[in-house]
């Protein structure tokens, strides 16, 4: 009886091994036949995946010689503070310019340069009471200070304009001179949806 049981078990295990080998072989044949398609599918899934582990925003560093940022911040993360004493503004600056980012504070247009890089920097914020409601009080000569982990940058306002929201020519991206452009919705105390923007232009002074 016991002998029979052992024989049965052995026979069953043999069949299991055969089945396992068949399954593995089938898997390998399919995998090798459709390897490119499988890798493409995995790449697409990787594209829509985000590493959600909690990490501290990397401290931005600037190369002293080339004046280029070596560790750009992740989109949507805070990397600086903007201070405008004239209108009691002391707000966080986030890298990103979508509506979700602007809810948190001042946004930095992802297509523009960073403070210290020597090009155009574009910041934007809502015209609400806790952001840029008092923008119209700014005058030529007023100072804007941007503090980052790699340095503090002071700008002096030299111009201001009212433009249409689609008027991108009024916010030129260039690399010859460091200019900070900060804009908000206009009219500043508007009711409803605002189609215009109030822009201040400032040169780097220190």
């Amino acid at each position: 009886m016991r002998n029979n049981l052992m024989k049965t078990i052995k026979a069953t295990i043999k069949t299991l091994i055969v089945a396992l080998l068949f399954a593995v072989l089938l898997f390998l044949i399919l995998f090798l036949s459709f390897k490119n398609e499988i890798n493409e599918a995995i790449s697409i899934i990787d594209l829509i995946s985000v590493n959600k582990k909690n990490y501290e925003p990397a401290e931005i560093k600037m190369d002293e010689i080339t004046k280029k940022i070596t560790d750009y911040p992740e989109y949507g993360t805070r990397y600086a503070t903007i201070k405008i004493d004239k209108i009691d503004v002391n707000l966080p600056v986030y890298f990103g310019d979508d509506l979700e980012t602007l809810k948190k504070g001042v946004g930095h247009s992802s297509g523009s340069y960073f403070p210290g890089e020597g090009g155009s920097i574009i910041y934007m914020g809502h015209n609400s009471k806790d952001v840029f409601r008092r923008f119209s009080e700014l005058e030529i000569g007023d100072r804007i200070v941007v503090t980052t982990s790699y340095g503090q940058f002071e700008y002096e306002i030299y111009d201001y304009k009212i433009i249409n929201e689609t008027d991108l020519d009024a916010l030129p991206i260039q690399k010859e001179k460091e200019i900070l452009m900060v804009f908000t919705c206009y009219p500043l105390n508007n009711i409803g949806y605002a189609y215009r923007r109030y822009v201040v232009y400032a040169n780097l002074v220190k």
Binding site: V18, A19, V24, L26, I45, N190, Y193
Partner: protein, 275 residues
């Protein structure tokens, strides 16, 4: 020779079992509106959508010059649920309807009028025009958060087509399986019990294959990190995918265990007959 042919047929039946299980699971999950409703309820999707709607409104609140209260109570949770269900029903061809946002527009207009009256504000022509634009944008936020038009239009094209195909293919696959089982039976006509063993081996091969595939997928892809549209929508997608993958594992485990038992019993009977 008989054994070789039998194992060849076993392999073919195993492949057909795999295809059948995949189609049955898809038919009972992604292509099944009830499964989708179940997942939405399980993940409290309607509350998550409300969070997204409020977040979307906030994008316009600050720049609107209006109080936050103006944007409150312009929709109800019940309306959100009804509208989401309407979209699902539309996608799955159960009922063709579209979201009615006129009540939201009306409520928002009433709130704005009340706010303007309370604050003694009168709008000039430009402001009236801007206000209308704001109302339109708010209504669009609600509509797009509920329906996600790009995705729902795509789903509306794919799902009915897939359902029609699957409904036709499943009986065909079952028919083909029966056909090969009959051939297996004929090949093993002198040892009829062998047919049962080979079918059990087919089921075992299919279930091991499915378990290998799902396990490797879980290792290679971190499903928890998938992001579609926003975190709330992603939560539902991720949990749904996990549910589908668990179904495959569950079916694989049950089929494996059942097959092993059948093979064991067959071997026991075969041994007794030999003696």
């Amino acid at each position: 020779m008989k054994t070789v042919i039998s194992y060849l047929l076993t392999a073919i039946i195993a492949i057909l079992f795999i295809i059948l299980v995949i189609l049955l699971v898809i038919n009972n999950t992604i292509l099944n509106a009830h499964f989708v409703f179940e997942k939405l309820k399980e993940n409290d999707y309607y509350s998550l959508i409300e969070v997204n709607i409020k977040s979307g409104f906030e994008n316009y609140m600050k720049q609107s010059g209006l109080d936050e209260d103006v944007f409150k109570d312009i929709y109800t949770k019940q309306k959100i649920k009804e509208d989401v269900n309407m979209i699902i029903n539309d996608i799955y061809g159960i009922e063709e309807k579209s979201i009615d946002t006129t009540i939201i527009q009306k409520n928002l207009e009433n709130n704005i009028d009340a706010y303007l009256e309370t604050n003694n504000m009168k709008l000039n022509e430009e402001e009236k025009h801007n206000m209308q634009d704001l109302i339109e944008k708010i209504v669009n936020v609600y509509d797009s958060e509920i329906s996600h038009p790009v995705y729902s239009d795509l789903a509306k094209k794919i799902i009915p087509m897939a359902k029609d195909m699957v409904v036709v293919i499943i009986p065909i696959i079952i028919g083909i399986i029966f056909f090969f089982v009959i051939i297996l039976f004929v090949v093993n006509i002198n040892q009829k019990l062998n047919t049962i063993k080979y079918i059990a081996v087919s089921a075992l091969i299919a279930s091991i294959f499915l378990i290998i595939c799902i396990t490797l997928t879980n290792i290679r892809i971190n499903i928890d990190n998938i992001v579609v549209l926003n975190s709330n929508f992603s939560l539902v997608i991720v949990n749904t995918l996990k549910s589908i993958m668990s179904k495959f594992i569950y079916i694989g485990m049950i089929a494996s265990i059942t097959s092993i038992i059948i093979i064991f019993l067959y071997n026991m009977i075969a041994l007794r007959k030999e003696e």
